[in-house]
Subunit: 336 residues, 2 copies
Amino acid sequence: MGGDFGPDVVVPGAVAAARGRKIDLILVGVESRINAALGKLDVRGVGIKIAPATEIAGMDEKPTETMRRKKDTSIQVCSKLVRDGLADGLVSAGNSGTTLACGMFIIGRIPGVERPALAAFLPTEKRPIVLIDVGANVDCKPLHLMQFGIMADVLARDLLGFSNPRVGLMSIGEEEGKGNLQVIEAFELFRMSSLNFVGNVEGRDLFTGDVDVVVCDGFVGNVALKLAEGLGSSLGRILRGELKRGFFAKIGTILALAALKRFSRLMDYAEYGGAPLIGLKGIAIVCHGKSNAKAIANAVDMAATFVTKKANDHLEENLAVNKDFTLFAHKRSDQP
Amino acid sequence: MGGDFGPDVVVPGAVAAARGRKIDLILVGVESRINAALGKLDVRGVGIKIAPATEIAGMDEKPTETMRRKKDTSIQVCSKLVRDGLADGLVSAGNSGTTLACGMFIIGRIPGVERPALAAFLPTEKRPIVLIDVGANVDCKPLHLMQFGIMADVLARDLLGFSNPRVGLMSIGEEEGKGNLQVIEAFELFRMSSLNFVGNVEGRDLFTGDVDVVVCDGFVGNVALKLAEGLGSSLGRILRGELKRGFFAKIGTILALAALKRFSRLMDYAEYGGAPLIGLKGIAIVCHGKSNAKAIANAVDMAATFVTKKANDHLEENLAVNKDFTLFAHKRSDQP
């Protein structure tokens, strides 16, 4: 029911993905509106169930308000289906704060995961990278950062198909010992971990493609993600303003803008469908409110890949391998 | 003596600025090398003194090492000149960590300033903005952020000539209450302050030009600055790779690259000369190690403007106006 366009975009997107991937759909929300959207589509051969939900979590509503006052929103019903094993994962274009809250408090964490994290796939000069966390956790301990790395390693392997992902820690200098207290301590944990840790990376390394995973806290990641999105758009407007002289310049503008638009589109959630919230018993894909049907389809496809690749099994293996020193780190990071 | 090119670049840059601004220069460093560089220049009409310094702070040397083991590096001698009132400010292209340390421990802070901060001037779609802090302080309290705002306000007024700078706080959502603990608490302080506080801004707002000052801690600011620099270069390489088809496409590439290059050049420290370290009794302009003579000239020019505009007097006035609640905040932020 969420997102700027509700079932009119979510239903056709989900149906398209289900047909392509041969998966079964459960559409959760106000039945009459879902049926109206389904009525416009050819749904032959696609397994579709409807799980009714009578309420809607507002896009501008505070997650805490929604969670307290409402019990039967589509995101809550959807999360319960995942919790109860009736759905393998969920996709939502609704209020992302509410989706995070439902993920944490209804679906619940995989044992051993301290904080589920939101990941984004970014285009680079070479192949895409995983940036984690992009906004789920704004105040993190070093151990959280290390676990983000463990989770993103699984995403890079299972969703991007990389064999031995190079994991970097976002900092303000390449050498060990550079960064804030959080990052300097996390560096040690990363080095002890089973990850293919390549050390600190800086803001300028985010788009070169020389690393596959970049780990940071959700505040830094969110600033970085939005800065990259914004800089793409701003450069487009700067180009448009600057290149208006003469015939060749006009051609140049058009071509340059096309290239920039391609980049912006890559930056857009639409291209990859959404941001996986990883660390839950199940998977939640958080889509932009402005997602179109194609973005929803990509998100459903991503959720399906996550499930069929058994990414959560790999995550549990990754956690188990790194368990001993996680306990050590946990003790230490509990100290003031 | 610092920077990748030493006196060969620093001396001609400084002399050019001194002639343009009609200011007196004190060149600090190994006399023979300074004289060799001066020998290649026309220095008629420019007031130049040499202050000898026998040692050099290495670009890769740890600042703590330099400060402990050496006493007579050019940056140390230079800082003492400022401390003793024999120079109004300093410009250095040397090891920036060492410059920060000398600023803090030799020149010293203006009373009331908790943490001197490093500011950067960034190009936007409209007029430039001040981003502060870009790396001097990686672990900040809310009060530090508020003081960065007070300092950047002075830079925007005195160096950029803006009359009532709009000050934004970098966060991950526009609404009050969004952000990490540090930012949420800082928001209150900003609202109480005398600043023209426009609320939270996000990463995407950095290049629109709709705000004049963006405040963040030095970790976030450094990541943001380097990300913007890196994204410009990466986009250039992506464009170069993508637009190689046909005649018009080639023209397009050339024009688009020219526009991007203009942007990258703006992003470069060279355009504005350097990053002011503000909050000291005097001023220190921190230049990129790779600065050319033009960048040094711009930095010296910036230092001169800072002094002639009496920016530090304005900073003290700004601090005084905001003194009462600073004390309140100080007490609170001392609590665990």
